[in-house]
Symmetry: C2
């Protein structure tokens, strides 16, 4: 049934040696130069402790590897060690904001201190199964997904040896550990504050930029949940992050009858507040404006921006969770409720 | 010389089958279930075109792989294919700003359209050689480094099969393709403008946050190169990104005799400008303030912030360079001069 032509008689793994003007050195080359077997090269370079090899031989192997510029394969090495130290994280599909950028930075350091390496995998344009298989091919020991997964993806990752799958999002995923961040709380916090201030017609900015719906929709739902039972109306306001879009929205403000706006985050809030002021709308007298994220820049404008402060998980917490789960992979999925949203009232509301 | 105890008699690669409560499926399991050889499994799952395999057999192998949840190793697969489609990029060691975040996002899409995958590798806390070896272990087809490399690192990557090594920074690295961004131009642009405005004692903000020296030092040098020959003095001003640090600097402003400041970027400029205004210093009458990056937020404050606009390379340009070099790996290193810095004069200078 299988017909193998002559030229394919070699094991395919040898093809590495045949390509390019300067061949990539293999462990066979190292073995030849050091005058030892390939097994010995593997034992020495992987620090296998169950095999006793004399110090002069170890030295000869290392010197040969260095001379040839031989680097073992990460995947082959992880097979031998039982698992890798790689924590895979899909790269963000949208440009990341300052809060998330800082969290990523912290996480990278925290995992590094526990001897893990974070690898961010660009999976844009891939389907769910395709992405999970691509991640699985790198044989990560753990996978951290900001967002959600399908249970089938968790299964693919576990079958490929991932000992921990952790999601960061608003819902638990079967088989995965969960850091829960419910963005409805952010909207709820803003809505409750505006109702308390006596506002009765509340706009909610919904960014037109793609990829932000995963945050903007639950935030809108949260405002509704807080405001509508108290008799206030909630109006979604599409807005692009440009001065033109903000100016258009501001030009229609008075006819819309809005007396407050929760502007998705501080950047959209600063943009819209300036447009409202330029259109002659007094903030906060005529209209309250609230952002979210508690950026330093919000304190610098006048009136100072009221904002919903949200705590991202600390990189340390997540790193410790990953390490704990890698050591005890059979344990029940952990669930951590993370999002602490609180109102920071300044001058704009 | 090599003494192998009994339990280590198995080839180390088999250890994958021995670990954990639910073993990771191997190609041997797929072969067993499908009733074919391991070689056939490999030919089918890697779409090897030089081997003819009947459609029913292909179907049986794929069904068995799916049933078992078998995913091939990326590294093994890249060996068979000759090279991977992975473009490795070291993850940033500092939280990334909005310009770079947007560039990363664009790059990810542009490479994806050419069927490459971007993998960002967290190398914080690694030495140069250690980092290069860790990157090389993933067998990327190309490596893109925002920053610099030592020539030895380029060599390690090339010996491990990387067909393209591209740096983005102020200097060329031997053996690597270079996208040149000279941040002295940013400072020069600001310095020339301030001198033209008649300013004679120019402060230059040097952020205290670690990791930014690679940008702040050439920017300071650029201001000096523009201002000192014209008889203006240049004074470095350490500043942390906090209101307290800015207030302290503003409190000493009049005694320092400064009449202008280039504030590293727009965020530091907005912070310092507010502190100067709060301390009663008139901007721009008493002191000119300039940022860099041309963020939208700089247009929203009053006075509107003057800024140095800099063009990041487009993700498309870099993706095309990578693809061209991967196809013709023997070609001479390409050098592209990228940084177009230009002054955007608004109201603060």
């Amino acid at each position: 049934m299988v017909q193998i032509p002559k030229q394919a008689g070699q094991p395919p793994i040898e093809s590495e040696e045949a390509q390019g003007p300067r061949p990539v050195p293999t462990s066979a080359d190292v073995a030849r130069l050091a005058g030892v077997s390939r097994a010995t090269v593997s034992y020495v370079l992987n620090n296998t402790s169950s095999v006793r090899i004399s110090e002069p031989t170890r030295h000869r192997v290392r010197a040969a590897a260095e001379e040839l510029g031989y680097v073992p394969h990460a995947a082959a090495r992880s097979l031998r060690a039982g698992h890798s130290r790689m924590v895979l994280m899909p790269a963000s599909h949208v440009p990341v904001g300052p809060l998330f950028s800082h969290f990523q930075y912290e996480l990278q350091w925290a995992l590094r201190r526990l001897d893990y390496t974070v690898v961010q995998y660009g999976s844009v344009g891939m389907g769910g199964d395709e992405a999970a298989r691509a991640w699985a091919e790198l044989r990560p020991v753990a996978v951290f997904v900001p967002g959600t997964l399908e249970p089938g993806q968790v299964e693919v990752l576990k079958r490929a040896g991932a000992k921990a799958v952790v999601t960061l999002g608003s819902e638990r995923v079967e088989g995965a550990h969960a850091l829960l961040m419910d963005h409805r709380e952010v909207g709820h916090c803003a809505g409750a504050h505006l109702v308390e201030r006596g506002r009765r017609r509340i706009g909610v900015v919904v960014p037109e930029e793609t990829g932000l719906q995963v945050f903007s929709e639950p935030r809108l739902a949260g405002v509704r949940a807080a405001a509508e039972p108290a008799g206030a109306q909630v109006v979604p306001l599409p807005l692009a992050y440009t001065e033109e879009s903000a100016a258009e929205l501001a030009a229609r403000w008075r006819e819309s009858g809005l007396d407050a706006v929760f502007a998705y985050n501080d950047e959209y809030a600063m943009l819209l507040m300036r447009a409202l002021q330029d259109a002659g709308i007094a903030v906060p007298e005529e209209t309250s404006v609230i952002g979210a994220d508690d950026l330093l820049l919000g304190k610098l404008i006048r009136p100072r921006l009221s904002t919903v402060r949200l705590e991202m998980p600390s990189g340390q917490l997540l790193a410790e969770l990953v390490d704990r789960v890698v050591r005890a992979p059979g344990a029940e999925p952990e669930v951590h409720d993370l999002l602490a949203a609180s109102m920071v009232v300044r001058e704009s509301s």
